[in-house]
């Protein structure tokens, strides 16, 4: 299935788009999305562990299933700051 993925901050600069479309297996997971993302945009491969994925505006682990129409987003590290 084709899914739409929102891109923010550094991820937005890598893809050049606010939103990209990726093809993942039907019944796929966040792990499948990451694999496809790394193939399509190699800069993600080197730092995949620092990029969080959200599904329907909630952070999701790699095992989380993705359904057609889910709102997906790539969340690079947030601004943080020294305490």
């Amino acid at each position: 299935m084709r899914v739409k993925v929102l891109c923010f901050a550094w991820a937005r600069e890598v893809t050049g788009e606010d939103e990209i479309e990726l093809e993942i297996p039907d019944g796929g997971t966040v792990a499948d999305l990451r694999a496809r993302l790394g193939e399509e945009f190699p800069p993600f491969s080197n730092r995949m562990e620092s990029i969080a994925v959200s599904v329907n505006q909630e952070f999701a682990g790699d095992a989380r299933g993705i359904a057609a129409g889910d709102e997906l987003a790539l969340i690079p590290p947030i601004s943080g700051g020294l305490a």
């Binding site: 969080a52 969340i75 590290p77 947030i78 305490a83």
Partner: protein, 143 residues
Amino acid sequence: MICRIVETPIDMGELMKHVEEDEVGGVCSFTGLVRNHSRGQKVTHLEYHAYPGMAEKKMRQVAEEIEERFGVTRLALEHRVGTLKIGEIAVGIAAASAHRDASFKACRYAIDRIKQIVPIWKKEFGEDGAVWVEECPVDAETA
């Protein structure tokens, strides 16, 4: 309760007024400002970007955690997005409670937790160009 992303200047007085009521004995606030230096480099201005919708949703989660932990329900959280100049307010927090301890704790927890789980990004502009400040990878298990 206020939990919102704004594009206009943050008014700390308004946030503090918002959390007051007759049974409140203490109001504590935190003001996060744009600083003119970062990691030894001069900063000229900043850009803040948010994931609309999710950022406010996660701010509401922070407010819920504060109610659970400290019993504080009189809370105002605002984060500004867009281009900010040095000295402008990027984040404003006000918390009120009957006795002071809870509002101090709520304020501290709010700023630390916002920086962990609310999807807002900061781009720093200096003399040598611009960089995304990426200090806190989100841990999906605890966010």
